[in-house]
Symmetry: D2
């Protein structure tokens, strides 16, 4: 099994994957990629997922948008330059006004999971200044993408 | 009660506090401080705490050092430029080879807690390539700083 | 002469100064503050200058705003954590549609100039999609702040 | 001519090219990629060039390494997410102890040059604490890569 096949198998079950090269400057004084960079990668994965389900298109005209309520990361292995990172993302729960994501970060060089993360995004109505129910078309797009109902 | 007094009272019980100005460029395309910046602030708080307990001095000569195992953040309110941020940090648990931190992020402009975070740091022996027990002088310095035993 | 007095004398002639603590995570794998961080500091200085002359207030309602056309930095000395950085900024030329800035970066720890930078900002009319003449009140505010005419 | 061919023609004469996706979080509150990110991209290009000429391998064992002495960037067009960026780099001058680079940043979405940059790197002998002559094998590797003598 070649390198990309291993990456793919490590990310099985994640319907959206983003790929980002490690930049030399992502490393900090310990000589590893800094923890903040993992959160940048996970943010990129959330944005890609949101684009796939039409979250940004649907919500652009209305005063509604996603807000990051919480996020967490377990660091399994240090990452170094040079490398290429693949971030898989899936939704594991749709709340009334929120979406919960799982993210898995895989190193192509190490052929291994280097971190696992979670986050909760709230759909927010800026005009009303309160959370807004997840729109039905968004829910349907998520279920189609995930291949299951929530 | 003036602004700094409120900040101080919101950070009561956190023995180490770091203060950082919000920079304009910390804001992302949503016009708020980006989530990765909160993790940079919390990292700065952990480093300050490590300096206070002699973690870096004690461990500098030996092949031993802290590794971030996990971190998480709950975002309570958006932060905007201009503002000044105060991050309080305390240790809530000393494991055999790990330290667990609580962090609270307070906005001076908003006079409010804008985020709460946690992290776990492992003391790692790079030569032996495995976790290393928390050294006794570090444990003592933490207990002196926190004013309690663990 | 104490430390702050030396910093002040190194920044004589710069009417606006911003102060930023070095964060540990500003350092890269060479163990020095990364070059991109100097540009973040200089951006913070430009924003502070713009606030002082009312650039942002004046232009907020109209489709007019500053665009960074170019910037440069000469690095004189490496900067390390911990340190506090003071960035002085002055305008050295007002063009028809542009402002040219000089910036000087001083390390409090080193009591020395660690970098010198320049930048050119263009006042841009987004509605008309072309550069816009520097408004007269902005020019007057700059001249008042710099204590000379251009 | 398709998109990649246009990018390639815009980067003709640059022997090393690095490709980086724009991440959503690279954008600042103006909704464009922040200026500091262009310097991160140019740094990645310099590192890639250094790897190609064996700069890092050759110098790793000795207390010699590259130091960024100065860098500059002219911003031609704003960059937005999503996009893919190609950075071409060439050396335009070899000094006794320094290397001068030209860098060109091309947007795949815009099919256009979005920025041009320069930088000067000094070869530094950390043990002797002074600049060190560019080693002959490095000079030869550069001439082979650039296809001309300096």
């Amino acid at each position: 099994m070649d390198a990309l096949n291993t990456v793919e198998s490590l990310l099985a079950g994640f319907p959206v994957v983003v790929t980002v090269p490690v930049q030399w400057g992502d490393q900090d004084a310990f000589g590893h990629v800094n923890n903040t960079v993992y959160f940048r990668w996970m943010e990129s994965a959330r944005i890609a997922y949101g684009q796939r389900i039409g979250l940004h298109d649907l919500l652009a005209d209305r005063q509604i948008g996603p807000i990051l309520a919480s996020t967490a990361c377990d660091f399994r292995r240090p990452v170094n330059f040079p490398d290429t990172i693949h971030v898989g993302i899936r939704i594991n729960r749709i709340g009334r006004t929120s979406l919960a994501h799982d993210m898995r970060i895989v190193s192509q060089e190490q052929q291994a999971v280097v971190a696992e993360g979670t986050s909760t995004t709230v759909v927010f109505d800026y005009a009303a200044n309160r959370p807004h129910p997840v729109p039905a078309p968004i829910r349907q797009a998520i279920e189609a993408l995930e291949g299951r109902s929530f």
